[in-house]
């Protein structure tokens, strides 16, 4: 799971193997190249962390929605139009003053696609997968997140088809902000649980 491979040029044999596989499947009529383009477009432009940000901002703003989200994440998220592959069942985990949740898939890289899109490289990497179940507090520190000793850390290992979405704590000073403004305080990483939501000052800086 060498991280470098994702940022440097891949070995040319990988590129050739992908081309060979695609041509073979296309020539056999099993795959339509235009379908591949449509799939890429969907996950590059439409299915990403902005969906989860909308869910979190709504949960922060609307107490009834928050209640529905915590009772049945899948349905409450479907209300917003997000559902399906890689997130057929989604459970929302709420961070509080006493509980901090963080999500991993130690066995592969299961991740709630409909609300977060495709996982970042670090989420799929051996260091994260191996360490966060054993030393979550140290891992969170590497993301700049300090968890006080009196806060319970809950790690969720996504070993089945259930996916988990962390609802970060609403930051102090965000009272009176609109849902659209609140979305800017929610980061992808805060919905995985490795960071907190941004403060209004950090949100403005970003």
């Amino acid at each position: 799971m060498a991280h470098d491979h994702d940022h440097n040029d891949p070995p040319s044999d990988t590129v050739l193997r992908v081309k060979a596989l695609e041509s073979l499947l296309v020539d056999k009529g099993l795959v339509d190249p235009k379908t591949l383009d449509a799939l890429v477009d969907r996950y590059e432009t439409r299915i990403g962390p902005q969906n989860g940000k909308a869910v979190v901002a709504k949960a922060w703003s609307d107490p009834d929605y928050r209640k529905r989200l915590l009772a049945d994440g899948t349905s409450a998220i479907a209300e917003m139009g997000y559902s399906g592959a890689g997130g057929e069942t989604i459970i929302a985990l709420e961070n509080t003053d006493k509980i901090h949740n963080v999500v991993v898939c130690t066995l592969c890289s299961c991740y709630p696609w409909p609300v977060l899109g495709l996982p970042p490289v670090w989420y799929k990497s051996a260091p994260y997968r191996s360490r966060v179940v054993r030393e979550p507090r140290k891992v969170l520190e590497e993301f700049g997140t300090q968890i006080p000793a009196d806060v319970e850390v809950r790690v969720w290992d996504s070993t089945a088809e259930t996916r988990y979405l962390v609802i970060p704590k609403r930051p102090a000073g965000s009272e009176g902000m609109s849902e659209a403004e609140l979305m800017d305080l929610v980061s992808r990483d805060s919905m995985i649980g490795v960071c907190e939501a941004k403060s209004p000052e950090q949100g403005e800086a970003a």
Partner: protein
């Protein structure tokens, strides 16, 4: 299988190299294509998600550890699709001409079906299956099993005691489904204390939750 993919708790993997939210979703054209191929072939119904995962974890361990995630997907796809008979390794390598596909398969996904198909996803719940041996609040133990085939019971939970905190209903059992048998049964969320899993190296008061099926568990006595 006790493979290198089952890495929960392993040491010496190094620091986490953080990529930013603003970074591109894909790093190069080939990643886009392999991601899309893997999803487009869903309508062919030639392999299940569990067969897919098992194909990836059968990559040679040294290669798995030095490959990026989409390289692992590529390796897994070549393996499972050739095993399923969509093509042979010789065809893929261009050593022999294209052969007709003789195995039964579903329709090719068309571009206009992408959103509908992906918004729908798979369905893993089943009406009937093995009756539940456990209920919320039960103390259970991860079984000490070491199957050669696929399993979603991580090594770090085997022999360890936890508490059932949720029953997610009857679902397809990944361990069996990776080998062609749905064997539906209850899926639970089991909570393990950090110190139960890691002893003195764990943290008192912290918990690790793992989704485990009925067959992964035994009653803790």
């Amino acid at each position: 299988m006790d493979g290198v993919h089952d890495m929960g708790g392993m040491h010496n993997m190094g620091p986490i190299e953080i990529d930013r939210e603003e970074d591109p979703v894909f790093h190069g054209e080939w990643e886009k294509r392999i991601f899309a191929i893997n999803n487009a072939i869903g309508t062919l119904k030639i392999r299940s998600i569990d067969e897919s995962r098992h194909a990836r974890e059968r990559m040679k361990p040294g290669l798995y550890m030095t490959s990026s995630y989409y390289q692992i997907w590529l390796d897994g796809l070549e393996r499972i699709l050739s095993e399923k008979g969509l093509f042979s390794r010789d065809e893929l390598a261009g050593k022999i001409p294209l052969q007709p596909v003789t195995v039964a398969h579903g329709p090719t996904m068309t571009p206009d079906q992408v959103d509908e198909r992906m918004d729908k996803g798979g369905y893993f719940y089943r009406e009937e299956g093995k009756s539940a041996r456990f209920k919320i609040g039960d103390l259970v133990r991860g079984r000490n099993i070491h199957p050669e085939g696929h399993t979603r019971l991580p090594r770090y939970a085997r022999g360890k005691q936890g508490e059932v905190i949720a029953d997610y209903g009857i679902q397809v059992f990944a361990d069996s489904n990776a080998h062609g048998d749905e064997n539906p049964q209850h899926l639970y969320c089991v909570r393990f204390s950090s110190t139960e899993l890691w002893g003195a190296d764990g943290t008192e008061g912290d918990y690790i939750h793992i989704d485990l099926w009925d067959d992964h568990l035994e009653a803790a006595t």
